[in-house]
């Protein structure tokens, strides 16, 4: 049986009252356990077989991918390819900056849970990975889960013969999802070049940062420099472009409160991560003192960890990342709880192209979607050319300011693993380590 190439017949994959599953469920518990020990069918999942598909996961392949680019050298990609007994496979991404090898190892730790399982009940697998991890999930487990979850959705879409955004109820906008590029310009001239190029591309939003590193209380000089930088950006990018400013959690609530207030006249789309994420009430100190929309969440794993931000009215825009939050399943759920609470979504994406393409599906299906990030500039570089070589189309490049919606089933692309393997894994690389002038640790 071919998974695609001809219209899929649902009956080929689903059987309500036949097959392996029933046989298993009729076995006594002890026999089932024995069976489980000897064979790769996980206990528990078998109980769902009568209501699932006949598909079984046969292999989980992990890929570490180091691109020959100086930029983003801290984030070799972590990809997973999940194969099934019917030849259908799915791709997912769990790139975790600075922790590639740990994430690959964590995906391997989930292998036992997956081999022999039906790939279709993705929520069941998500729950099992999260709950059965006991410690729930931090970024390493979250990123590993994200990779697996995306791959399962890719398989699901292919089996159900739909692009994932249609399974999620989309698209809200058939023209695609609005995106923004990053600006790396420092001088007014460079900024005006970005403005011209953005206009030419139809790009309507740009994100930048603030210069330098910040102590938890700051001097007049440092505060003025930051405000001046953003003012220069507004003046030179013009009024027609929406500007987001990323504080990158390198400011304390005290410093961020001052900066947010002084940046109010620049009419920003949002200020992102005004302080680190662990202390939600500390971020509330900032939110209650400024009118600038606050965006945050790229470091959060699972919807559970977004709850307090929403509940306390701190966040205007949630930015959870499909490669860390727990994949498509978790990103959609964050969007759901945000929507109910009047909060919008602008997912983070600063890793590889699989997560990028996956997030576009979720974006297309969220009523509260604002804008999608991609860590690229208005001009494509080496990285973007490799992505195009992999997928045969310019992945994660905007057309008229929007990421086009994939049309094919699943995540909507084909990827040859030999093409991926061309860029060998050269090991984990640390994220940038930066320091203040007195040698103390700084955040960037």
């Amino acid at each position: 049986m071919k998974p695609f190439g001809k219209p899929l017949n649902r009956r080929d994959f689903f059987s309500v009252n036949a097959g392996l599953g029933c046989a298993c469920s009729l076995m006594p518990q002890a026999a089932q356990e024995a069976n489980n020990a000897g064979r790769p069918e996980p206990l528990g999942a078998a109980a769902l077989f009568p209501y699932g598909s006949k598909l079984r996961i046969t292999n989980v392949k992990t890929f570490g991918v180091t691109l020959p680019t100086p930029e983003q050298s801290d984030r070799p990609y972590v990809f997973v390819k999940i194969e099934t007994n019917e030849g259908v496979h799915g791709w997912g991404e769990g790139t975790l900056e600075g922790k590639a090898a740990a994430t690959i190892a964590c995906i391997e730790d989930f292998r036992e849970l997956l081999i022999g399982a039906d790939p279709m009940p993705v929520e069941h697998h998500w729950q099992s990975m999260y709950v059965h991890s006991f410690y729930r999930a931090g970024p390493v487990i979250g990123s590993a889960m994200s990779a697996i979850d995306q791959a399962l959705w890719d398989i699901r879409g292919k089996i159900l013969n739909q692009p994932v955004y249609k399974l999620l109820g989309g698209p809200y906008d058939p023209a695609g999802v609005r995106g923004y590029y990053h600006i790396r310009a420092n001088t007014p001239e460079q900024m005006r070049d970005v403005r011209a190029k953005a206009k030419q591309l139809g790009v309507t939003a740009i994100k930048g940062g603030i210069p330098g590193y910040y102590e938890w209380i700051e001097t007049n000089a440092a505060l003025r420099r930051a405000v001046k930088h953003v003012e220069t950006m507004r003046v030179n990018l013009g009024e027609e472009i929406d500007i987001g400013i990323d504080f990158h959690a390198k400011t304390s609530p005290s410093v961020a409160s001052l900066l947010c207030r002084e940046m109010e006249p620049f009419r920003l789309l949002f200020i992102e991560e005004p302080c680190p994420p662990e202390n939600v009430k500390a971020m509330q100190r900032i939110a209650r003192r400024t009118k600038v929309p606050i965006a945050t969440g790229e470091r959060l794993v699972a919807s559970y960890n977004c709850r307090e931000l929403v509940e306390l009215g701190i966040v205007d825009i949630i930015q959870t990342d499909i490669n860390h939050v727990g994949g498509i399943t978790a990103l959609w759920k964050v969007g759901a709880l945000a929507d109910i609470s009047g909060v919008k979504m602008a997912p983070h994406a600063c890793e590889g192209p699989i997560g990028g393409l996956a997030t576009v599906h979720v974006d297309a299906a969220m009523p509260n979607f604002v804008v999608q990030e991609i860590c690229s500039g208005v001009e494509p570089g080496v990285k973007e050319r490799i992505w195009e070589e992999w997928f045969g189309f310019p992945a994660m490049r905007m057309v008229n300011g929007k990421f086009p919606l994939p049309q094919k089933p699943g995540l909507g692309f084909e990827l040859d693993e030999k093409q991926v393997a061309k860029y060998k894994f050269e090991g984990t690389r640390p994220m940038a380590r930066v320091f203040h002038a007195d040698g103390s640790v700084a955040a960037w």
Partner: protein, 345 residues
């Protein structure tokens, strides 16, 4: 190493009149540890001898806690850490997990332009400036306008490479304090402290909801427990705690809590001696969320010379706004006992 004797020396500086007591702890190894307090009662000394003689200095945390909220706690903690460092043949900041930085930013209280000029010439780049309060407030707008005028001029005179914090001297009613905090925000004081006469949580909460001027709090605390209240109430931007009174370990504990609120610590130290300044260098060099260390304002050259002689080194000298770190074991300084005798009250 076992503690054999504890002695206290009440001292007074002839110029300027700063007074403080040095605590000397002797051990059977011959090593001596020194600490500092504002003053120590005879009863506290008796109790310290009872509890501490015969003990190992490495129990500095346990022993300090026996004197919680008493001035003895700070002096004892300093002296025991001095000994613990000497026993380990390492500076105190290494004992405490440091260094986290290679120098310590400094601030000094300076009320008038002449004092600021003199301190700036000595290397200071940050000034704690008191609010000049009128005898009676007749007009709130006039008061606020006067303060704004004064601090606008100050900001201008400091230029781009110097900063100021504001000491409200705990003299303003809530309304005036709020107005002034709001008015000062655009001038970027590093922080304002002791702004309100009655610093209850409601008033502070009102100030911090009406402006983002950083609030320094904690100056008057004699124990660290209430730091939890300050942080939880969400009004504090900078923890100001008296190092001499509380000791290094309690401040380090308070800093550990403040870190979880992304809040920095800047120990107060206005009236004490040079040994507390040295102790502060070790705290500043070992906690991650240290911001700035207040150094007692000493303008007289004679007084500065005497303080340097007492600790045998210019540890209060500031270069480009920063103090340098000691590198010798313990607190890293030797007390000159001939100077101690000369300064004895």
């Amino acid at each position: 190493m076992k503690i054999t004797a504890i002695t206290a020396f009440p001292l007074r500086e002839p110029q300027g009149g700063k007074a403080y007591t040095l605590l000397k702890i002797s051990t059977d190894s011959g090593a001596v540890g020194w600490g500092e307090a504002a003053s120590l009662s005879p009863a506290a000394l008796v109790r310290a001898r009872e509890l501490v003689v015969g003990q190992e200095p490495s129990r500095y945390d346990f022993l300090t806690r026996q004197f919680a909220a008493e001035p003895m706690a700070g002096a004892l903690n300093m002296a025991l850490l001095d000994l613990a460092g000497k026993a380990a043949n390492a500076p105190v900041y290494q004992l405490l997990g440091g260094p986290t930085r290679n120098r310590v930013r400094a601030i000094v209280a300076a009320a008038n332009p002449a004092a600021r000029e003199q301190f700036a010439a000595q290397g200071h780049r940050a000034f704690l400036v008191p609010l000049a309060l009128p005898q009676a407030i007749t007009s709130r707008p006039k008061l606020v306008a006067g303060v704004v005028e004064e601090f606008t001029a100050l900001r201008k005179s400091l230029g781009e490479n110097a900063d100021f914090a504001v000491d409200g001297q705990a003299g303003l009613p809530a309304l005036e304090a709020t107005d002034i905090a709001v008015a000062l925000e655009p001038l970027h004081p590093l922080w304002v402290e002791r702004l309100v006469r009655e610093p209850n949580a409601e008033v502070l909460s009102r100030i911090s909801s009406e402006c983002a001027t950083p609030l320094g709090l904690g100056n008057e605390l004699t124990e660290i427990g209430p730091v939890q209240n300050l942080l939880r109430e969400g009004n504090v931007d900078l923890i100001r705690l008296p190092l001499q009174r509380l000791g290094l370990t309690p401040l380090r504990r308070a800093a550990a809590l403040a870190e979880t609120y992304y809040t920095a610590v800047a120990p107060t130290h206005a009236e004490g001696g040079p040994l507390t300044t040295v102790a502060a260098l070790h705290l500043g060099a070992s906690i991650p969320n240290f911001f700035i260390q207040e150094v007692p304002a000493v303008l007289s050259a004679e007084a500065r010379t005497l303080r340097d002689a007492l600790v045998r080194g210019s540890w209060e000298a500031v270069r480009e706004g920063y103090l340098s770190l000691p590198t010798k074991p313990g607190l890293g300084v030797e007390i000159d006992e001939s100077i101690v005798r000369r300064m004895a009250q």
